[in-house]
Structures are given as C-alpha cells and as structure tokens.
Amino acid sequence: MKNRLRELRASRQWSQSDLADRLDVSRQTVNAIENGRYDPSLPLAFKIAEVFGEPIESMFSPTDEPARKE
C-alpha cells in the first residue's frame, strides 16, 4: 500500500518523532509506514488521516494506484 505520509509530514515540517508523538506510536513505526514496510491498522490509519486533516482515502492507495491528491 502506498501513502502520502512523508509528503504531508514534510509539508508541515514535522520530524518523524513529532508525528509519532501526535499518533502516540514509536518513531520506528512512522518510519516503517512511510517506507511502505508496514501497513497501519484501520484505527491507526484513521488517526493518521485525522492528524493531517485529510480524508483517509486520499492518504492511502493500493500499490498499483498512486495516492490521490486533494
């Protein structure tokens, strides 16, 4: 699954640790999600969408389809 986590985080000038603090997860988890090594659970995906104020479907997409941008 692809995601726009890195791009959205960079646009807000947050470090991985800043985002991890907001999501109450480890920095390692944020890094793994950004690099596509780990797909978050649905509750965490919703929390990520909430933190960025974006609809969840704009944040995540299947690997063969690019993530939609608002």
Binding site: S15, Q16, S17, A20, D21, D24, V25, S26, R27, Q28, T29, V30, N31, A32, R37, Y38, P40, S41, L44
Partner: protein, 137 residues
C-alpha cells in the same frame, strides 16, 4: 544523517519497561547467587525443593513485565515482538525434542539439555527480536 529523537511514547514505554524489569532481574541474580550454596549431593528436603524453585518467583515477575511491555507496545512493535517470541518458542520446542531424542538413545545428560533448551530458546528469542527490530527500521 542525523539521528532523530525518540517519540515521547517511546521514552515512556522504555521507562515503564525498565521499572518493570529491574526488580525481577535483581531478585533473579540474588536468588541464583544463593543457589550456589545449595548442596546438590545431600538428600532433598522440603526446604531444598522450595529453595530450588525460588527462582521461579522473579521469572514470573519477568513474564509479567514482558506481558505488560506487549500491552504497552504500539502495533508494529507488538507484531515484531510476537514474531520473535514465536521463533523463540519454535527453537525451544526443537531443542526440547532434540534433548528427548538424545535421552531416548541414552546419549547426553537430560538436566544439561534442559539448561541448553532454556538458554537456547531465550537467546534465539533475543536474536530474532534484534533482527526483526532492525528490519522494521
């Protein structure tokens, strides 16, 4: 590349794990130390049995600490830890089976194999955890 700071939840989890584990480790070392004085040639009494089983108390404490650590872990850390525990369990079963087969063939010392099984299982668990953590980063 600069090293990023850990998230506040990382720090909180690590501190809580340290608080949980420390008393168990200290108690285990102290109790194991007292077992050195145990006369293994003497006929076992009730107190010998109680004394021998005493390390189970700090070990149970450490099991509790591990369970609490799993409960506190975030979802990726939980997956990583459970995978490592599964690999450690598999290694323990294999070592126990090996010891049983050797014992059936009247080779080796079952008491030694028990120690090898225990220590081997723990070491494989720790190694699997280190590899999984590294892969997840």
């Amino acid at each position: 590349m600069t090293k990023q700071r850990r998230s506040s939840s990382d720090v909180a989890r690590e501190r809580a794990a340290f608080r949980d584990i420390t008393p168990g480790v200290i108690a285990l070392v102290v109790i194991e130390g007292t077992l050195i004085g145990l006369d293994r040639e003497a006929d076992p009494t009730v107190w010998t049995v109680v004394w021998s089983l005493l390390p189970l108390l700090p070990v149970l404490w450490l099991v509790r600490a591990q369970l609490r650590s799993l409960q506190r872990a975030d979802e990726l850390q939980r997956v990583v830890q459970l995978e490592a525990m599964a690999i450690g369990f598999g290694a323990t079963v294999l070592l126990a089976l090996t010891g049983g087969l050797l014992d059936a063939a009247d080779v080796g010392n079952p008491a030694q194999w028990l120690q090898i099984t225990f220590i081997g299982g723990i070491l494989v668990w720790i190694a699997a955890l280190a590899v999984n953590m590294r892969r997840a980063q």
